[in-house]
Assembly symmetry: C2
Homo-oligomer: 208 residues x 2
Amino acid sequence: MAKVSFREQVLRVREDAIVASVNRLLAEKGFDNMTVDEVAADVGIAKASLYKHFSSKEELAGAAMIRVLEQAQALMASLPAGAPAVDQLKAVARWTMQVQLAGEMPSLPAQNSTLRAALMANKPYLDRLMEVSDQLGAWIGAAQTAGDLNPRLPPEVVLYTLFARACDPVLSLLKVSGQHSDEQIIEMLLSTCFDGLSGQTSTTKSPS
Amino acid sequence: MAKVSFREQVLRVREDAIVASVNRLLAEKGFDNMTVDEVAADVGIAKASLYKHFSSKEELAGAAMIRVLEQAQALMASLPAGAPAVDQLKAVARWTMQVQLAGEMPSLPAQNSTLRAALMANKPYLDRLMEVSDQLGAWIGAAQTAGDLNPRLPPEVVLYTLFARACDPVLSLLKVSGQHSDEQIIEMLLSTCFDGLSGQTSTTKSPS
DNA sequence: GTCTATAAATCGATAGAC
DNA sequence: GTCTATCGATTTATAGAC
């Protein structure tokens, strides 16, 4: 029998609530404009109590990133194993856009150096990031071999592009314009991502 | 004879130096992590003197955005008028990527509400933004009519996508990886932007 | 572990002399 | 207009009682 006591489970539930709040606030305001006071108020505890669970604001962001990476891993594991690799990649891209439209994709500024340093020293985060990258990398290679992805593109470029589409500002711009449904937005951006603005090849329709 | 005195010209040169510093610092650290103290130190004047020229940090950012929009207008005006519209769009996209790789593309977080409010009240900025959007919109429509851009995409989506590629994090990710030259990075991202990750249509090579 | 209260540092913006 | 000096507000993080 495991040593997971009742008290530890309560602790775990509370920390999950904290990370969920951080995740939502990061998506809404970004790392720089999110304050620890807001997080504490949103969870409903005192700020000093928050710091008993997480030792810094950067660690809060790291925990939120670990959360989404684990959700991504769960999604990837749930995909049908036999499908073409390019379809797996599209499914992941679609999921990241859904998360973003739902206001649950944490956005971390690439320019904040203290945050970057903290994340690069966060081993649990780096481990998840590596695992997700490896799985995506395998699919990218397979899709290029199958001729479904441009084989002249370095896999690195494809990987970075997919990550970048998970926080593409185009999504929120189109959402606030209010002229398209969430599903329409996602399908259009999937089309521009895989088939480009020129769009000679179609993912959903045959040329007829 | 104009009333532009020597003193006004000195003032203008100094403000140009301020905006150039702001532009570089915005590209390097982003709006939230750029401090007015840094700007003053970079220009070599006291912070109080800076505030005699620009009344707030948001106005500094607006001036930097006006600067790049005017540079974009100058580039667009210099393009050969007879070329296909899609080539004009690619030329603009290429230029924005060059600016970004040169570390001179200011990056403004979309989530900072006070900054957004200030920009939306900044008429000179909005005017330039509208002019640039109109010129790009005309080219987008022409390229769609010519069959060089996917006609099923709303022009709005194409416009937003082009703006977003001007601050695409993929560029800096690839640059720090150090495996490709600036020219290679730009050509690859132009390819993924217009032809997609699938890349069945080629902009630079015939299928052969 | 949770709280109140506060330390310590940063930053945008201004006062006032020259 | 430029400077030095400082205000006032915000924010990360901690001290110490319970």
